[in-house]
Symmetry: C2
Subunit: 86 residues, 2 copies
Amino acid sequence: MNYTSIIGIVAGLFTACSLLPQLIKIIKEKKVEDLSIGMFVTLMIGLALWITYGILKNDLPIIATNVFSLLLNISILILRFKYSRN
Amino acid sequence: MNYTSIIGIVAGLFTACSLLPQLIKIIKEKKVEDLSIGMFVTLMIGLALWITYGILKNDLPIIATNVFSLLLNISILILRFKYSRN
């Protein structure tokens, strides 16, 4: 594996894990009003398309990192609606 | 261009544009307390690494979509600190 591939994998891990601090913050504070539903819905569509792309290209790192992101994203969206005061 | 590439490009556009609704919401409402700083810092590192990866692979779509995301991300982070009540 060359260093370009390693940078790609590390980049994927960072973007995939970026939703984790937001999920932890929501679970701790149960406050979601300032979060944009549009952001997480748009991201969810994008991630589903990346998974489709990974499946078509038979690229396991793309599939794995985006499935992980999608699960975090869906969890955030569910809590966004659950804790919404309206 | 085959349909797999088109799916990849559309996926990139969705993930790149996902930060836009959050940025608009912050500008409108000036409320940021529920947003995780850790999320946007982690994402910023990931996006910078994706841009590095795109430069090393000489892949313009990867560079362009991630530069766009990085600019949105930096704008959100600046406003996150600006509008923080603390």
